[in-house]
Amino acid sequence: DVKVTQSSRYLVKRTGEKVFLECVQDMDHENMFWYRQDPGLGLRLIYFSYDVKMKEKGDIPEGYSVSREKKERFSLILESASTNQTSMYLCASSLGSGAAQETQYFGPGTRLLVL
């Protein structure tokens, strides 16, 4: 079974703080993704990575950056947290075969509250 873990289930941070959200997958997947989920808006893609040190912007990258130094780890960074970044953050990974039927495996999520 693919396992995707996220470093924290709950986080409380103050406005202006730098925040790191860590995600680790144990199945040697090439692709990793960061989403945020807000009520009424569904899941929105922030960034994804298809290889080590490679990254691509998703739909809402503003205010975020990412880092992928190792294949199994994908970090989401909030350079200066703001209250509108209060959300549930979900990490996902996928094999990276390029096949049209490829699916994603999600972590449990990190609920971030920015005060």
Partner: protein
């Protein structure tokens, strides 16, 4: 852009069959249709995927008509534990135009 449209919510009772339909009029030739399930405070979980006709696994069935402009997720004999949000996705990964989960369908199962 293969946008999907699903009902916002559905109610059912234990033991009933539930069918959730997703519309995707702009589906491309190479697109697959994938359904995910999400419980509160958890990440989405893959349920089923198909390209055409019918697919069945231990959890659900997926019906896809010949024109592929819609699909129906069928959950046989639901239980309380099937209460969740169900998302329909169409497209392929790494094409960010198509990585749209939308708001899904919130299924509530009553005893």
């Amino acid at each position: 852009l293969a946008k999907t449209t699903q009902p916002i919510s559905m109610d059912s009772y234990e033991g009933q069959e539930v069918n959730i339909t997703c519309s995707h009029n702009n589906i491309a030739t190479n697109d697959y249709i994938t359904w995910y399930q999400q419980f509160p405070s958890q990440g989405p979980r893959f349920i089923i995927q198909g390209y055409k006709t019918k697919v069945t696994n231990e959890v659900a069935s997926l019906f896809i008509p010949a024109d592929r402009k819609s699909s129906t997720l069928s959950l046989p004999r639901v239980s309380l534990s099937d209460t969740a949000v169900y998302y329909c996705l169409v497209g392929r990964l790494l094409n960010t135009d198509k990585l749209i989960f939308g708001t899904g369908t919130r299924l509530q199962v009553f005893p």
